[in-house]
């Protein structure tokens, strides 16, 4: 069932490595020489304002965009030179994914499992829905789902093939408090039980504080901060919350 690519890096090696990464849309440079390393097993929270370049970074890491210069590696694979290997090693949940309304959850998942080269598709679907505690959704049409249900099936499609790194772009966007809590529990579970490294774009600092082990702050295309959550809280003892720390970092 497991179609995950074995990478050249050991389990202890970095899951993600960006070296002097630059990306441009036309003449506009949106990512300025970003250097970032995310260790295997981390839950990495990528913070920043809207338009800071978080989604562009994910698009580079998920092979949707080619960097203008610099390099990006996922599980030791270069996102340009070893695109297929990267794609086999990752799962991706974009912001606002709707899935196919006219198909059931299981039919949606079957399509993505087949695209990912999963061998035993029915078993993978059943097991994944079990992990996410939503087997009862399998035979219901996605068009009838709430935002929270869609998001769970969206996560399911991203982990069907048991990726080594999971990219989540604003995963809590539009969810109600219960949905946010469920998703948070899911993220922690995927990391702890399945050993998936998680790279999460968000601007919800409360989520980062509860879930992430490491954070990075992106401001106008520049990585202005990157450290563990523990060190961050120790480094800014005077700030009451992560939000205060974020504001201070951004001001600097």
């Amino acid at each position: 069932m497991n179609a995950t690519a074995e990478g050249p890096t050991s389990a202890a090696g970095p899951a993600i490595e960006l070296v002097s990464l630059v990306h441009r849309y036309g003449d506009v440079e949106v990512l300025h020489r970003i250097d970032l390393t995310v260790a295997t097993g981390e839950i990495f929270g990528f913070l920043g304002h809207n338009g800071a370049g978080k989604t562009t970074t994910i698009h580079v890491l998920t092979t949707l965009l080619k960097p203008a210069s610099g390099s990006a590696r996922v599980c030791g694979f270069d996102v340009v030179e070893q695109r297929l290997e990267v794609q086999r090693a990752i799962g991706y949940l974009p912001e606002n994914v709707r899935l196919y309304d006219s198909l059931t959850a299981a039919e949606n998942l079957r399509f993505f499992a087949q695209l990912s080269g999963v061998d035993d598709v029915p078993h993978a679907i059943d097991e994944t829905l079990g992990i996410l505690d939503c087997r009862e959704l399998a035979d219901r049409r996605v068009g009838t789902f709430s935002k929270g249900m869609r998001q769970r099936i969206g996560v399911a499609q991203a982990i069907l093939h048991r990726p080594r790194v999971l990219f989540l772009d604003e995963p809590t966007s539009g969810l109600d408090p219960m949905g946010v809590r469920q998703l948070r529990d899911t993220i922690v579970h995927l990391n702890a039980e399945l050993g998936i490294t998680i790279f999460m774009n968000t601007h919800l600092l409360s989520e980062v504080a509860r879930v992430c082990t490491t954070i990075g702050v992106l401001s106008e295309g520049e990585l202005i901060y990157n450290d563990t959550l523990e060190n961050t809280l120790r480094r800014f003892p005077d700030e009451a919350s992560l939000e205060d720390i974020y504001v201070r970092l951004d001001d600097q």
């Binding site: 949707l64 974009p94 606002n96």
Partner: protein, 311 residues
């Protein structure tokens, strides 16, 4: 190859759940059945008039002309299909092509698909293969209805030769519809919303179906629809003499002319007429390949990171 098949199957599954597609399919199949009915109706009317005429002429001691149907090819009773395919069939094909791209876009899954080990050429071929299979199934259903209609009208099943010609006609129609599927795909890739993509493709359809035949036949008033071969041109102006030179590459004209020959048993489509068949088929094949290449290039170069759920 496997990815291509997965994408093709998914496209077919989505089509089978689309109300727009199913509605247009029902209309096309209904018109196919109606085509047989219209053929039967005109056949019966002409025979009735002929019988009355025979009675009158015999009573007057005058010579009786031969039965008109004795000279009319039995397949030409389905001539209306040469109108329905470019009208309803082509619109259906545009919907198929449009949905192949906008279905993924509306679901917001294009970025997910291209974050998986999917080659862009596999994606293109999957969409084309799915669309071609959908077109083939539709044409097969039309063929079946036509055979049933002909059997009822002619009080007996078509001969082997008629079946071959009928199959060739629907194969040609399938190829012609593939052209419009590709127009639907290209229009969807060039525009940002489903409605705009459909509008652009329908504009091209109108140009091919209604405008081009007029310009390439010297404003012959019935040219846009009816498969009439070699009529006298209405306009002799310099402009229309110039535009009529484009007739060999007017796909609608060539489709109608070749279809008409296929449904007329007197014409030799292969053998002595093979050269003419090739020149009529060539522009359709050329534009299918041209649009296919264009669609492939658009998919290969498109920035799919921009594709978010919309419409």
């Amino acid at each position: 190859m496997i990815t291509t098949a997965v994408i093709a199957r998914q496209h077919l599954r989505l089509l089978s759940r689309s109300q727009t597609f199913l509605l247009m399919l029902v209309v096309l199949l209904g018109m196919t059945a109606l085509s047989g009915f219209i053929g039967w109706s005109s056949h019966a009317t002409i025979l009735r008039v002929y019988d009355e005429t025979v009675k009158t002429l015999t009573a007057a001691g005058k010579p009786v002309p031969p039965n008109p149907f004795a000279y009319k090819p039995r397949l030409s009773l389905l001539n209306n299909m040469i109108i329905y395919v470019p009208l309803i069939g082509a619109l259906l094909a545009i919907v198929i092509g449009n949905m192949s791209i906008t279905g993924d876009r509306q679901a917001g899954v294009t970025r997910v698909i291209f974050s998986r080990p999917v080659l862009r050429s596999s994606y293109f071929w999957g969409k084309v293969a799915g669309s071609a299979v959908a077109g083939a199934v539709i044409m097969a259903a039309c063929l079946l209805l036509s055979v049933i209609g002909l059997t009822l009208i002619n009080h007996g099943p078509p001969t082997a030769s008629e079946l071959v010609r009928l199959t060739a006609f629907y194969a040609l129609s399938g190829l012609y519809l593939l052209l419009f599927t590709l127009i639907g795909i290209v229009a969807a890739l060039l525009t940002s919303s489903q409605s705009l993509g459909l509008f652009a493709a329908v504009a091209v359809w109108a140009l091919i179906t209604f405008a081009t035949p007029q310009f390439t036949s010297g404003l012959r008033p019935v040219a846009s629809l009816n498969p009439i071969t070699d009529p006298v041109s209405v306009s002799h102006s310099r402009f229309f003499r110039a535009t009529s030179k484009a007739k060999p590459i007017a796909v609608n004209e060539q489709y109608k002319a070749l279809s008409s020959r296929l449904l007329s048993q007197g014409n030799d489509v292969l053998g002595a007429g093979a050269g003419k068949t090739a020149t009529q088929l060539a522009p359709i094949l050329f534009f299918v390949l041209l649009l296919g290449g264009w669609a492939h290039r658009l998919i290969a170069r498109r920035d799919f990171s921009e594709e978010t759920a919309r419409d």
